[in-house]
């Protein structure tokens, strides 16, 4: 019976990933994230305070629900705590965002509180997508998304400068064999 070739593996000779330098994403992306954060916080705060504005601006409008005078304290406090945590995560997490392109795989690292380092072999990439939102277009940033079979290993590397994104894409295209 012919056994499949199965040489012993020397664990110390396996190339380590931890020793590599990660390429950071564009510094402009931090600004973009902070803008996103501010817009979301503003909308939330306004919607919490909307009844106050309505009752002070239009004295004759009767609100069907009586909110009471200081109803907004607790929701606003909750928003402050959650929003503050989110801001800390954005601020401390940003320097941790980064990617490494190797001969056969790509690795992306992100997150401050919840940290993850994901590696995807090129051989498993089904297709690649470059996207750009409205604000990202002002900053000249692009987001790269790699799709794998089953979808659980999909990877999104956000906030790469357009020129870098094109280079990265052409590297991936040639490596994954999708010319």
């Amino acid at each position: 019976m012919e056994a499949p070739s199965n040489p012993e593996v020397d664990l110390s000779s396996v190339p380590p990933l931890g020793a590599l330098d990660f390429t950071a994403v564009s510094e402009d992306y931090r600004t973009l994230r902070i803008i996103q954060w501010s817009v979301v916080q503003l909308i939330l705060a306004l919607s919490i305070l909307a009844p106050v504005f309505i009752s002070t601006l239009f004295n004759n409008v009767e609100l069907s629900v009586d909110f009471g005078d200081r109803y907004w304290r607790i929701p606003l406090l909750v928003q402050g705590v959650v929003g503050g945590f989110w801001l800390v995560e954005e601020w401390l997490g940003f320097p941790r965002r980064g990617y490494v392109v190797r001969e056969r795989d790509i690795t992306y690292r992100s997150g401050w509180f919840s940290r993850s380092t994901t590696t995807i072999p090129y051989s498993q990439v089904q297709h690649i997508e470059l996207t750009q939102g409205l604000i990202a277009r002002w900053f000249g940033l692009k987001h790269l998304k790699l799709f794998t079979a089953g979808g659980s290993g999909n990877l999104r590397i956000a906030g790469i400068e357009e020129a870098d994104a094109q280079v990265l894409r052409s590297i991936l295209d040639s490596r994954t064999g999708k010319g």
Partner: protein, 500 residues
């Protein structure tokens, strides 16, 4: 038999389709039909008969049209289906995209010697093709055509990663010859054992849900019946309910057992399975008989499950998962086979994962922190006793609970184990409900090292293997071990996928 000319299905397909459509219509529209029967005029039965005749005629006509416009053919390694009554659709499935070919026979198909054929792909959801009625000979011929081209797809480099596995796996099976080796076949008594060792409590709840669903849909009848009763009767009924609790619980458990045995018979009646050079083959079922055919290279996860009772009987359940649709999250195609014995496991694992008979490259156990977390979570309910009982009883009960929790936690913690072989990773966990997951390194879609900031300080993290059939994780691993494991997994993956 060839399938070059576009063909319709067997004429009896009209009958099967009408039954299917009628069933769907009934499921979705029965409250409306009953409501209409009540509301128009006052002759309920007459309306009901008219409504059923109308829906019969409607579904019959629809089934006829559907049947007439549905044609299938095979052309140059592509399965083609044209269908649609007003909106025409032409589906093309290249053979190399096919994950599973499944033959199925419901009661009508069994009666007339027909078969249905279902083809699953790993593409976007809804990309499956289903023929409901073709003659059994045609079904088997079609299955052969699809299967032969699917399993020898090496030279047509389609699915990355799986290509090399075909090579690897062909070697041991070819030398074993073309004959198939039997895996598991169930006799009636074994079927009873499978039924009796199912989770009765879950099944009992399922039957309870069914009953309450039936009652819940006739709330008017129930309330009007209660309204019509004199007041003292209500008290009597209440008292009777109290007396009924014990027999009710016995009935509840008995119904659970009955449901368990019945579902075991419906699903696994006359189960026959075998393995051969072309993959895993299994057929089972009473009213609806399913036949599966899976090439080895399409198997992305192998999961063995057993509970304590099953282990006492020497049984394990095998679940096989194939690639899932990208957006689906449905877990993809999965087949489960109950009542596999240790010898079956050895045979199957020897074919699928030949390297696990060698010495493992490394063994990874979770750190002690997992034990404390398990302990804390299983001890939490002890707090509830203090809210419910008086202090003396609460102290006794929570003491007993804590002893139990401490004992089971030790057992559970000891059951977590990850064994790494040159090409395979084996994840084991569970003490009462035991689980053993096998995945091949050549097939992983990605590896993730994950931890939150407090774990990072202690150099602990979780390792996640992304496969085409979903992610599997092993938690609370030392960073040094986890990173070494990740590098090793990637290295082996590249080594297995670089020969193309």
């Amino acid at each position: 038999m060839d399938f070059i000319e576009p063909k319709r299905q067997h004429p009896l397909g009209v009958l099967i389709l009408s039954v299917q459509f009628l069933w769907k219509l009934g499921q979705q529209a029965w409250p409306m039909l009953i409501g209409l029967s009540f509301s128009i005029g006052d002759n309920f039965w007459q309306n009901a008969v008219i409504a059923s005749i109308a829906s019969l005629a409607l579904t019959g006509a629809y089934a006829l049209l559907y049947y007439w416009r549905f044609k299938y053919s095979v052309e140059e390694r592509v399965l083609i289906v044209e269908k649609g009554i007003l909106h025409r659709e032409r589906l093309q499935v290249p053979f190399e995209r096919i994950q599973t070919i499944q033959l199925f026979q419901g009661p009508i198909q069994q009666l007339f010697g027909l078969t249905g054929l279902r083809v699953d792909t790993a593409g976007s959801s809804g990309s499956e093709i289903k023929l409901v009625a073709i003659s059994r000979a045609a079904g088997e011929a079609l299955q052969d055509i699809l299967r032969n081209h699917t399993s020898d797809s090496n030279e047509h480099g389609e699915e990355h990663g799986a290509i090399e596995n075909d090579d690897d796996l062909a070697a041991p099976t070819e030398t074993a010859g073309q004959e198939r080796s039997q895996l598991v076949s169930l006799s009636i008594s074994q079927l009873f054992k499978v039924g009796l060792s199912q989770n009765h409590l879950r099944n009992a709840f399922a039957s309870l849900a069914l009953i309450s669903y039936l009652i819940g849909n006739q709330p008017d009848a129930l309330t009007s019946w209660l309204d019509g009763m004199p007041a003292f009767m209500a008290t009597l009924i209440g008292a009777a309910m109290l007396l009924l609790i014990l027999p009710g619980m016995v009935l509840f458990l008995m119904s659970g057992v009955a449901v368990s045995v019945a579902t075991a018979f419906l699903r696994y009646y006359d189960l026959r399975s075998s393995i051969g050079a072309d993959g895993l083959h299994a057929e089972m079922g009473l009213l609806r008989r399913n036949t599966f055919q899976m090439p080895y290279a399409r198997i992305h996860l192998t999961i063995w499950r057993s509970n304590w009772i099953r282990r006492k009987l020497g049984f394990e359940t095998l679940e096989i998962r194939q690639a899932q649709a990208e957006s689906g999250g449905q877990g993809g195609v999965r087949v489960s086979l109950p009542a596999l014995e240790p010898c079956h496991r050895a045979v199957l694992e020897n074919v699928l994962y030949p390297d696990i008979t060698d010495n493992p490259v490394m063994e990874v156990l979770p750190v002690r922190r997992l034990r404390w977390l398990l302990m804390v979570f299983s001890a939490l309910p002890a707090g509830l006793f203090w809210l419910v009982f008086n202090p003396l009883i609460a102290a006794v009960v929570s003491g007993a609970w804590l002893t139990f929790a401490f004992w089971t936690t030790a057992k559970r913690y000891a059951s977590f184990r990850m064994t790494v072989y040159t090409d395979t990773i084996v994840l084991e966990k569970g003490w009462f409900w035991r689980q053993r997951i096998l995945l091949r390194l050549a097939q992983i879609q990605g590896v993730e090292w994950e931890r939150h900031v407090f774990l990072e300080r202690r150099s602990i993290g979780h390792i996640v293997f992304h496969t085409a059939a979903g992610a599997r994780r092993f938690t609370y691993v030392l960073k040094r071990q986890g990173e070494m494991l990740r590098d090793f997994a990637l290295n082996q993956h590249h080594a297995r996928n670089s020969r193309a």
